[in-house]
Amino acid sequence: MTSEVDQVEAAGGDPGGADRAAERTSSDAPSRRDKPVRRVDRVIIRFAGDSGDGMQLTGDRFTSETAAFGNDLSTLPNFPAEIRAPQGTLPGVSSFQLHFADHDILTPGDAPNVLVAMNPAALKANLADLPRGAEIIVDTDEFTKRALAKVGYAADPLADGSLSGYHLHKVPLTTLTLEALKDSGLQRKDAGRAKNMFALGLLSWMYHRPTEGTEKFLRGKFAGKPAIAEANIKAFRAGWNFGETTEDFAVSYEVPPAKLPAGTYRNISGNLALSYGLIAAAQRSGLPLFLGSYPITPASDILHELSKHKNFGVRTFQAEDEIAGIGAALGAAFGGALGVTTTSGPGVALKSETIGLAVSLELPLLVVDIQRGGPSTGLPTKTEQADLLQAMFGRNGEAPVPIVAPATPAECFGAALEAARIAVTYRTPVMLLSDGYLANGSEPWRIPAVDELPLISPDFASEPNAEGGAFHPYRRDPRTLARPWAVPGTAGLEHRIGGIEKQDGTGNISYDPANHDLMVRTRQAKVDGIAVPRLEVDDPSGRARVLAIGWGSTYGPITAAVRRVRADGGEIAQAHLRNLNPFPANLSSVLRGYDKVIVPEMNLGQLALLLRAKYLVDAESYNQVRGLPFKAAQLADVLWAAIGTLDGETR
């Protein structure tokens, strides 16, 4: 949830962990508990293990339990590109971080209060992120000499005192799981695989999570293998009971539900929200949805999701390559469909020529880029926002393309509708820039009523529009500069269009110099004239001299940083761009209203370059390209530094 600014996240910015988070009364703890219960306002948990240990599933389940409980939450899955990297190695570590709270939060959290480490590699890879005093739960069974040596531990960190600054729970997770399942009839190897559910059960006890959902989920997931389902449920319950009975876990924690705006909520990831947004756009425009796509991380989940919904008339076409994916989508658009192609940066590079064709044909088309680390194959499973300039300029000739960028996972839903609105209204390809963090991260989403969603009018051409009953495919609407969309099957409007320059109006091939100049300028003017919402500025005191401006998934960390600064008495303004081409009309005046403009980006300054070039402002970049989101504390320091440089100057 990101709708309301709340100072509590800032107040809780102390990374001291659950123990030191705001502690409240425990009088209303569940009576069945014999142990003390501590109430905290937020917790950050990281599950880490081998990429075969089921950490993503464990994290997903804990997230679902947490969503069902009514906390606000934000997640950060982080996994290697290899399906099964060498076992027990640092590159093979997969993790899932979840931040949940009794109030509105914006990020998956800077530093975990709790780390669950299923092996030495998971401990080693994640320890640096933990604040002193954090709780660490390790599977001691995996801390063998060989496993320790594999990741370069000279001595056993569980025994050498190096973890004395943390609250270490040494739990033989594998042994306990095997013991719990000794009568299950399962082979030792299969039984041992349920240890992630044991860990989940333990954490569910520690944080008072409801357990029915997970049991129901396991029964459904292993419907064909009831023995496996029961074993997992048994391990899950054993983990819960272990927490309740063992001395090692003296207290459990309660995080009360968050007070979110009224409504019905569900938890949703960015890629799921985007998929639903595309279906909603098709329904609200009355256009059949056609997806042409080639599998690529981290976009494939949209192809998978849309493939499930053929009863909405959704056609999904897994093409032979990226070019065919967009080609088929464009062909479908010529036929009157809502044509969509989904990909990541390398795929956009391959699709560039066809995007240019769509610019020239002036047909509606959605190009969804789930950005990942680049260049080339780069970091396929990690996040980055370095495709902005590719989206803006990555084509031959003057080929302007509108750009829409959601700021949070749930916003991907509305972004898909907005991209479709622009594409259909203005007959143009539109780039939708999401990223790996938004795609896989999740948060609660207030489910909108269908009749509240915007309607999109395709307004197909049905009549001749020129003298003598002729049809001129490039005779434009003077208001939007959009050309008529006449689909095959419409009698009397037969026409031919192509990538060669067209004569204004008639659409006939034309090499006339003045006409080309006119057409290039007209296509640009059409995109420049697209109506986009005003840029909202958050400047509560109205006295801030520094503006932090960003785009895309940096919204969470920037907003959390802004809250920290304000909680500590700083004055800072914030604005976040959802429309990057064209920019909101008031952007120029917003930028000029501040003495200093800071632009944090997960690239080397692409938005900053655009702002400097277009508005002649001395926008200052703050950049990180680590494949991971910014941390709020890190950005707060940057904002304070910016305020500090101004305080040293006289006005």
Partner: protein, 347 residues
């Protein structure tokens, strides 16, 4: 009038049409004497035979001389980008089954830059009719060798002769699981029309290779098949159900190796002549026929329909899945989808 089962979902024309109905007001800009003119005329004359509404006909092309074709057809049309016409046409044909979709392409467009899209369209068996104008040269870029040019061809980019072995488009299509593969020649209007008719009748992807003369950069490339005297020895006409014979010779299957071979026909061996079966489930003999031609001289070049078989059509399968999904789950309910199964309410 013929029956066109592949077009059964396409609305019928209200009144008979003529070739004139399919001509546009655009000036045709191919070089004078280009083989493309006669193909255009043949197609425009043939289209009325389909009996479908003009507005439900779409021509999609890539880049190259032949790809200007859509501008001259008074139907819907897209002149797209190099090599991508089969992909664009696939999206259109699978989402609009009420259309008759034609692809016009050339040897460079279809077999070089667009080779991937061509083979995948063929294996999917989308309801597309692909007309591949093969002039064995790059015309629009002014005379470089193409993927069908004979080995050693001297061109601007290969002054010492080209080094790459050519594709045989018919062999390629058969290898790509095509369900309909034919070859014809620009100058033979009746044969060209008969092949177009068979392609239009076919349900699924039809590949028609049309030998087309480029009188500027590769003039006379197919003369050996056009000249009455040399055609006697060079041209093999394939007719379904007929023995394969040409001039004094014919095609026989070697009894032990199974290979096809060309021999003089005598009274003694006449009964052993290979009988052409375009509907054979196996593509083996069709492929063997495609290999009879000599790439350099074009001697023993078969023309006609090599293969014409039934296989499920991609766009039909896709539509069936959509219907099955509705039957299983009911028509999509957006509200229910957005809500899902795991929700909580904040008052």
């Amino acid at each position: 009038m013929s029956d066109f089962p592949a077009l059964h979902l396409v609305p019928k024309a209200d009144a008979p049409q003529t070739a004139r109905d399919f001509k546009t007001d655009q000036e045709v800009r191919w070089c004078p004497g280009c083989g493309d003119y006669v193909i255009l005329n043949a197609v425009q004359s043939f289209m009325p035979e389909l009996g479908i509404r003009r507005e439900n006909t779409v021509f999609i092309s890539g880049i190259g001389c032949s790809s200007r074709f859509p501008y001259y057809m008074n139907t819907y049309g897209v002149h797209s980008i190099h090599g991508r016409a089969p992909a664009i046409a696939t999206g259109l044909a699978t989402s609009r089954r009420d259309l008759s979709v034609w692809v016009v392409t050339g040897d460079g467009d279809a077999l070089s830059i667009g080779g991937n899209h061509l083979i995948h369209a063929l294996r999917r068996n989308v309801n597309l009719k692909i007309l591949l104008f093969n002039n064995r040269i790059y015309g629009l870029t002014k005379g470089q060798y193409s993927p069908t040019s004979e080995l050693g061809k001297i061109t601007k980019s290969t002054p010492m002769g080209s080094l790459d072995a050519p594709f045989n488009p018919v062999s390629l299509a058969l290898g790509a699981e095509a369900t309909f593969v034919a070859r014809t020649i620009d100058s033979d209007r009746p044969h060209l029309t008969s092949v177009l008719r068979a392609a239009a009748q076919h349900q699924g992807t039809a590949l028609v290779e049309i030998y087309q003369n480029c009188n500027i950069f590769n003039d006379g490339a197919f003369d050996v098949l056009k000249d009455a005297a040399s055609a006697e020895r060079a041209l093999i006409r394939l007719t379904h159900g007929e023995p394969i014979a040409f001039g004094t010779r014919g095609v026989f299957r070697h009894p032990s190796t199974g290979e096809l071979e060309v021999r003089e026909v005598t009274d003694a061996n006449r009964a052993d002549l290979l009988v052409h079966d375009a509907h054979s489930p196996s593509p083996v003999t069709a492929f063997a026929l495609s290999r009879l031609a000599d790439n350099d001289t074009l001697h023993q070049t078969p023309v006609g329909i090599f293969r014409d078989v039934d296989r499920p059509v991609y766009d039909t399968l896709m539509a069936d899945q959509l219907e099955a999904a509705v039957a299983q789950k009911g028509p999509g309910d957006l509200g229910a989808l957005l809500t899902g199964s795991d929700t909580w309410t904040v008052a």
